[in-house]
């Protein structure tokens, strides 16, 4: 009976193999209890709060269980680390809850195969492992798209934080300064990334559909998946026409990502299936409307927020949310194969009640994918707020309670 006072996330953390001998906790007391009467059970460093009847402290599992038996204690929460987030999309897909569980994509190698990267951007400091150019222009991002995409997957800013803010970044430039390139240049970039043993590749690029997945670029993507790499590919922006998913979004083994708003409304531009051989695409949706992320120095892509950030829309912006999710999941479950990762992200997606060839399985959710909870029914749309991360953590508290 007393253990129901212990938040589920805290109980899980205490029971985990290799759990620490002490945990940071916040203890909520019955409101009529004065501060001097709050049970502390010999616990060190208590910090009492006045807005709510609670105190933060460091406690051993035994002390936590003892506190839970005290009638003056209502709830014991984990004292989680909180973060500021990238705009509203990252909290919307519940990435901060995965961070709170201890997974930030740390050291997971992710390749952004795109227009290059602005390596001087502070949000990537110390995490760009390699840069490679296949355009002849040099690896620097002279368009802005690749930097924006990389920020969504792995930016670690104080103001805006990407989905996997501790992932390792491999920046592969295959698109020129005008934002286009040949399929063969992308294929070369993919081969290079596979040779670097990256675990996740983001491809926010493509051509015009329809397609059946047998073209050379789609075949290369599938071959990369066969090598153990998770590929997240943009569905394309030729929607809402039927069969508008283009290559390599029609590849069989990749996770094909369409775009929705932060309020879970599908974007009109998001490409629709089926593929020309009748398969359902996209596989999932993720936020891709008005996404704020890193701005490459000297570029004007999107609607600039300031010198370091800009806002942009597209399935290009939805896809790196998936790549970041894959990095989080691979840190948590390193033995997952790309097929298992894809399946996990798809079956835990939240259906928006749309046609499968518009939404795939629905809007993907980082925490559900981590938790492994299938979600068969639509959920109410939360109202995005600038303090979404903090609210998300509080939601976790209350859900566990």
């Amino acid at each position: 009976m007393s253990d129901i006072k212990i938040n589920a996330a805290l109980a899980e953390a205490m029971a985990a193999p290799g759990a620490p001998s002490e945990h940071r906790v916040i203890v909520k007391y019955r409101k009529e209890l004065s501060t001097s009467h709050r049970p502390l059970a010999g616990i060190v460093r208590p910090q009492h709060f006045t807005l709510i009847p609670a105190a933060a402290m460091l406690a051993s599992p035994e002390q936590i269980h003892a506190l839970a038996t005290d009638p003056g204690v209502e709830t014991i929460w984990p004292d989680l680390i909180v973060h500021t987030c990238l705009d509203v999309s990252v909290p919307h897909i519940q990435a901060p809850q995965v961070w709170a569980a201890g997974y930030t994509g740390r050291n997971v190698p992710v390749a952004i195969v795109d227009t290059g990267i602005d390596a001087s951007h502070p949000d990537f400091a110390g995490r760009i492992v390699a840069m490679q150019d296949f355009t002849g222009e040099g690896a620097r991002d002279n368009h802005g798209h690749g930097t924006h995409v990389a920020g969504i997957t792995a930016g670690a800013g104080n103001q805006y934080k990407g989905v996997a803010p501790e992932a390792q970044i491999y920046a592969v430039k295959v698109l020129h300064g005008d934002g286009s390139g040949y399929m063969s240049e992308v294929m070369a970039g993919l081969e290079w990334a596979v040779q670097q043993n990256v675990k996740v590749i983001n491809l926010s690029l493509g051509g015009v559909g329809p397609c059946d997945g047998t073209d050379a670029l789609s075949a290369t993507c599938d071959a990369a998946v066969d090598q153990g790499v998770m590929l997240c590919v943009a569905a394309g922006n030729y929607g809402p026409s039927v069969s508008s998913v283009g290559p390599p979004g029609c590849a069989r083994k990749v996770l094909t990502v369409g775009a929705c708003s932060n309020a879970d409304a599908i974007a009109s531009f998001s490409a629709r299936g089926p593929t020309s051989d009748g398969r359902v695409k996209p596989d999932v949706l993720l936020p891709g409307v008005n996404i704020a992320s890193c701005r490459a120095q000297g570029t004007t892509m999107g609607t600039p927020v300031d010198t370091l950030y800009t806002r942009a829309s597209g399935t290009s912006m939805a896809t790196p949310h998936a790549a970041g999710m894959a990095a989080l999941l691979l840190e948590a479950f390193p033995t997952l194969t790309p097929a298992q990762l894809k399946e996990r992200i798809m079956v835990t997606a939240i259906t928006l009640g749309l046609d499968a060839n518009a939404q795939g399985r629905g809007r993907a959710d980082a925490f559900r994918a981590y938790d492994g909870t299938p979600s068969p029914t639509p959920t109410p749309t939360p109202t995005p707020t600038p303090t979404g991360c903090l609210l998300s953590v509080l939601h976790l508290f209350s859900a566990g309670r």
Binding site: M183, S184, A188, E191, S268, T319
Partner: protein
């Protein structure tokens, strides 16, 4: 797998002197294919291990001649791809 899409074949036949970029899927050794392509006056731009293919530049006439080569599994246009941002005027929101 078709050796070539008929629409692309028609395009090559319409302008045989035009220079084109192709991706050629190869049966067998890439090195042997590369040597043969040089004999056919094609420029090999890149080779790919993941799908056993080469990217080349050649005349449309040479591209059509490749269809008779037994080591050629398929040829396709090396098409352009681009970043996936919406065209101007296309906004988000449900549709």
């Amino acid at each position: 797998m078709k050796k070539i899409e008929s629409a692309f074949q028609n395009k090559l036949q319409a302008q045989p002197q035009r220079t084109v970029r192709l991706i050629v899927r190869v049966k067998g050794e890439l090195s042997a294919a590369t040597a043969r392509l040089a004999e056919l006056q094609a420029t090999v731009l890149r080779s790919f291990q993941l799908i056993n293919a080469v990217a080349i530049s050649c005349s449309a006439e040479t591209a059509l001649a490749l269809l008779d080569e037994p080591w050629v599994q398929a040829i396709e246009e090396d098409r352009q791809v681009s970043v996936q941002k919406p065209k101007k005027g296309k906004k988000g929101g449900q549709k």
